[in-house]
């Protein structure tokens, strides 16, 4: 079966991103495929390359990256939500005249159309959210 996952929860402060990560691993372990993982609202912070986690804690963005590399996952961060929140890649840094950028490798910025396309292509779409 084809799954897509929507992550609206940030990597820190609420549990949603960690639950989504465990769920994604379980989907793959069960032999299903993941068409896309779409990060929306505060979930875009999961795409930060700059999260520095104490050694005895999990770095959720890094774990997304590792999972994506292992399984060739499509990790898409909503571009409109991301640039407002200060999550940008080199191309957006140029566009907005910023000296620095922070999108993690394996993540890609794209539009909400990628969420809609994921809905069209997937048998199941599962959302992990945080209230607010």
């Amino acid at each position: 079966m084809i799954f897509s996952i929507v992550v609206q929860a940030p990597p820190v402060q609420t549990q949603g991103a960690e639950t989504a990560l465990r769920f994604a691993r379980a989907v793959l372990a069960a032999g299903h495929s993941i068409h896309r993982i779409f990060f929306y609202r505060d979930g875009v912070h999961n795409g930060s390359a700059l999260t520095c986690t104490p050694q005895d804690e999990f770095n959720i963005p890094q774990q997304w990256q590792e999972l994506a590399q292992q399984h060739k996952l499509d990790l898409v961060v909503c571009i409109a939500a991301a640039v407002r929140r200060g999550v940008i890649n080199e191309q957006e840094a140029v566009r907005y005249k910023q000296d620095q950028w922070n999108l993690r490798d394996s993540f890609e910025l794209s539009g909400l159309g990628q969420l809609v396309e994921a809905c069209i292509q997937s048998d199941r779409v599962v959302t992990f959210g945080a209230r607010s």
Binding site: F3, Q15, T19, A26, A30, R124
Partner: protein
């Protein structure tokens, strides 16, 4: 056949009430994250209207040391299986 997930602790009674309004006897309510606190006996009366199946995510029960003997639990693989066996997933948060 809808799988509903709910991740809110009992102080967010409005979230549970709205979820219960949409759950049919063919549906399943999966409690995840802080939602697993709803398995405490004190909240049984608020869940009395639930006609569907009630399930809680094992890792979240264990993290919080909730026994929930009366409630069925599933691991992450079981969560995925529930997604497959229902037509769609609705998230309450």
């Amino acid at each position: 056949m809808v799988l509903h997930t709910l991740n809110q602790a009992p102080a967010n009674a409005a979230c549970m009430a709205s979820a219960l309004n949409t759950i049919t006897s063919e549906d399943t309510l999966l409690l995840i994250e802080d939602g697993v606190y709803w398995t405490l006996p004190a909240f049984a009366s608020q869940l009395a209207n639930l006609t569907g199946r009630l399930v809680a995510l094992e890792a979240d029960l264990k993290a919080r040391d909730l026994k929930a003997d009366a409630v069925e639990s599933v691991d992450d693989a079981g969560f995925v299986a529930l997604c497959v066996s229902h037509d769609k997933v609705v998230s309450w948060f």
